[in-house]
Amino acid sequence: MTNKENLLKGLVKENPLFVSVLGMCPSLAVSTSLENALGMGMGVLFVLVMSNLIISLIMSNEKLAALVKPVRIPVYIVVIATLVTIVEMVMHAFLISLYNSLGVFIPLIVVNCIILGRAEAFASSNKPLDSVLDGIGMALGFTAAIAIIAIFREFLGKGTITVWGNLVINLKGAFTFIGIEPIGMFVQPAGAFLSFGLILAAVVAIGNKRKEKLAKGAAK
């Protein structure tokens, strides 16, 4: 696999959220605004890239890998938990409003299946550079997916899109135009499942159409 393929596979082909359906708990919980989604994405990017790099470095050394193999899951957890705690402390100190919005979902990055999954399935058996590229691609794919859900939910639920801090795009005019109020349910937990289901259905439909087109092209 080339470096480019390694980087890009996480964005669409193996998107952790829309294809593998991993890491759903934080995705549904924090996608009430685009700002929260981007904040969570940044946290996951840092943790995923660094954990992939560290685990790959450890496992690239044959002698060390032999020693670590029997205790590899505790080793992954220690590395990931350390990185998540660093993210939590830095966010608490320098991004307090984001820290308060994300709340308990920052420490829960430790048990995000995407991070542990990539450590075991990819970083432990690939070179450090490949692992870093895989981490960047997967984290960007996760961020893009969670951002799409957040935009969908925030627009329908509040009629706004909070990009960052005070930068809020007000789209309430669209609701005024059709004569209804924003549908508050979309920023509630039930709205999270509904939004995710609708977006996933759309992604699968687009994927199927594409496959059909490719199959037709091959038949001709």
Partner: protein, 190 residues
Amino acid sequence: MNSGLKSGLVLLVLGIVCGTLLALVNSFTAPVIAEIEEAAQYDALKEFYYDIEDPNYENFVITSDYDIDKLEINEDGVEGIFVIKDKGSDIIDSLGYLVYANGYSGDAPVLMLIIVEEDMDVIGYKVVSHKETTGFGADIVDNDFNVSSLIDLSGFDGVAGTTLTSNAILECFNIVAGRAGDDFGGGLDD
């Protein structure tokens, strides 16, 4: 050496390295976090000394109108006391108590700011931090608990279904009621 023992040692070394790294990061984030928490407490104080509806509210700095000393206490449920005096005056205008009591989330107590005057009238109160359950206890922390004086707390309005959180808040008022008289009477000088 037994290979299991060697693996355990590797894990131990990794734990030490990670612990050291966390201590290093903590050494430069902890002071910033402490500053933020103190600023949040001063912001909470500001709400009771300036009209929140006023357009200049954001620019109002409470220390420009009042002299405020914070006493670190950390005993009997009291974390600290803000001694608030009019600018340049020696007479205490009011005392702001940072008090805590255990609610539903036992490990993280409910921390309240309660501001009282010498006649035991309550100027205001606010839950500064808590980790009560979202959808239950967390929803009542901004309630009006019908407390305007510490002389008689029998009118306290608890909320059914969130007994432990309500009790923690009542306990905070009781702590202040138990010591505010002494503190205004010179107890703080000790």
